[in-house]
Amino acid sequence: MNLNTAALGRYRMMRRIRSFEERVGELFLKGESAGSMLHLSIGEEAVVGMTDAMQSGDTFTTHHRGHGVFIGRGGDPSRMMAEIAGKEDGYCRGKGGSMHIADRALGHLGANAIVGGGIPHVVGAGISYRNAGAGQISVAFFGDGAMSQGILYESMNMAALWHLPVIFCCINNQYGMGTRVDRSAGHHDFPARAEAFGLNAARVDGTDVEQVYNAATALAHTARQGNPGYLEIDAYRFYGHARMDKSPYRTAEEEATGRARDPLLAARTRLAAAGIASEADLVGIDGDAAVEMDLALANAIAAAPPALSTMFQDVYAPDTPAPRPQVDRLSAILSEGSRA
């Protein structure tokens, strides 16, 4: 694939993410989503630079705002949307939802609703890959909120100490829920923190997916050789924390400035200016994404909810007895204990 084709491919992927997230918003407004804990990654699409630098067989964990990362690694929008709607057709059969989506086959070891919760799992994956000598890497995606979690630093230390093929990828969207990063960290040169643990670190402009891709490719290359890295993507979270958040903690002026830092628009402008794609090409890509995500939305709404009997499945492995429904336990007591 030549460089131009690859760049166009990254634009296509970013557009698909944007369109998907917009449909997630629609799903909520239609009352078809499972709850309102839906965290949109609009404004953070340049993460495609990191997902594109990964290879088949690499694994990753994400935070609660991970739809874009998953699509970037090949997630099927229909199965994702069905999961977000809590349907049987979803990736996790309606058990996990937006915040707990995973696909073992694509290397997605799980999205996490505990800030920093999935970060140490890539350390363990890194031990697996180091011991097997298989050349795989494992990447933890998280937000700037996790920069205040101790487990991140425990994990960075272990990765550096044991020379693990691991990357810590911080998508810094400036906000942990409603708290801007300058209100949560006394000193927010985060790459310096990573370097202090012995990691290779880079901070890149989150409006420039190609810059993200180049930095991610370099870090992935060294990580495969056992030198773990930290990549920070400097972005802006366009909308509120979750669907019920009206962003009372920031001004309209700040939002306007932030939303002007649009990685999708920047990529589109760059591709057109460089003559890599015509306006007609780009309109075609945008249209294809809209059609695809409209279909994902419609499929999710039409899909059936899981049968109640599935509730007791997968607490333990299939060959072990499932937890007993409460009415089964009670009926055993109530029938045996009944007196004439």
Partner: protein
């Protein structure tokens, strides 16, 4: 059959498992060069190297988290938590991650790991190094929970834990490490999830596990001198647990007590007593009694520490009341 210590039986189980399965790794604080805070992993780093016996920094949450990630990607890690008292540090990784991955992800991603740890009183280790916190684990669906009382179980339950597809919390007792007993590597005391009757008796049932099993057996011998025969059952696996043999035994005698070292309020004993009360109500001659640790932090003074958990005397006196309604002197 050979006589070995509880500590050596656990070490032998780790060694045999690591030789049989190259995916088994150990990760924890001081498991390598130091040989384990209680000597359980002594010498294993020499046999299996630093890649499989991993000395970790003092980072309990990331030790458990790394074990989870290793388990998700094909290894079978045994993480060691030096004291069960540190489990609070790891509770997110244990209860929110390891326990829930299979379920949240619709059955795609299991976490076949073992968390080895130890608890209990007996060394004047005080309030932060002496607790019995198994009830915290029992309260979390998705986790398995095992607490061996005998040398043979220490070996076999650990080997069996290392065949489970789900996370297992394996809690040893610091007061048992030097206890000697028979080890038959070819013959487990019982199957996974099955309680074992350690002593037969027709007058009452004493249900216990871990070190309190031995206090219960000592009490049963003294009861026999008074003509009272106690059936003593070792629960072994607290989850999964086949309740059927417990129900059968309690129905047969109509009298039962559950003995634990953990503080009695919200304890494993409370839950088992409740379950058996539901299932055996019409067969009971007396309420099912719970004996546990006092509802206090563990004090350091040897005298106070010893008095804070059930003794063979307390078990004996309470059992005698269950059978004879003879009030012990302290109940006057």
């Amino acid at each position: 059959m050979t006589e070995v210590t509880y500590r050596d039986a656990i070490r032998q189980a780790l060694l045999d498992a690591m030789q049989a399965d190259p995916s088994v790794i150990l990760i924890g604080e001081e498991v390598g060069l130091y040989g384990g805070a209680y000597g359980v992993t002594k010498g294993l780093i020499d046999l299996f190297g630093h890649d499989r016996v991993i000395d970790a920094p003092i980072s309990e949450p990331a030790i458990v988290g790394a074990a989870i990630g290793a388990a998700m990607t094909g290894l079978r890690p045994v993480a060691e938590l030096m004291y069960v008292d540190f489990i609070g540090m790891t509770m997110d990784q244990l209860a929110n991650q390891a326990a829930k991955s299979r379920y949240m992800f619709g059955g795609q991603i299991g976490v076949p790991m073992v968390l080895r740890t130890q608890g209990g009183t007996g060394r004047s280790a005080a309030a932060q190094h002496s607790q019995s916190l198994e009830a915290w684990v029992l309260h979390t669906p998705g986790l398995r929970l095992v607490m061996p009382a005998t040398v043979n179980d220490a070996y076999h339950l650990l080997r069996q834990s290392l065949t489970q597809p789900d996370p297992v919390v394996f809690i040893e007792h610091k007061g048992l490490y030097t206890m000697k007993g028979p080890l038959d590597v070819a013959m487990p005391d019982g199957a996974w999830g099955e309680p074992v009757i350690r002593r037969t008796g027709s007058d009452l049932v004493i249900l216990s596990y871990s070190r309190m099993l031995h206090e219960s057996l000592a009490a049963a011998e003294r009861l026999a001198q008074a003509g009272v025969e106690a059936c003593v059952i070792d629960l072994r696996c607290l989850n999964p647990m086949n309740e059927a043999p417990l129900v059968e035994a309690v129905k047969a005698t109509g009298r039962a007590m559950v003995v634990t070292e953990g503080v009695v309020t919200g304890s494993v004993a409370s839950d088992i007593a409740a379950r058996l009360s539901e299932l055996c109500f019409d067969w009971l001659e007396e309420p099912i009694l719970r004996l546990g640790g006092e509802d206090i932090p563990i004090p350091v003074s040897p005298a106070l520490e010893k008095a804070s958990i059930p003794s063979a005397d307390l078990i004996h006196d309470t059992a005698l009341w269950l059978v004879t309604r003879k009030a012990p002197s302290w109940a006057a």
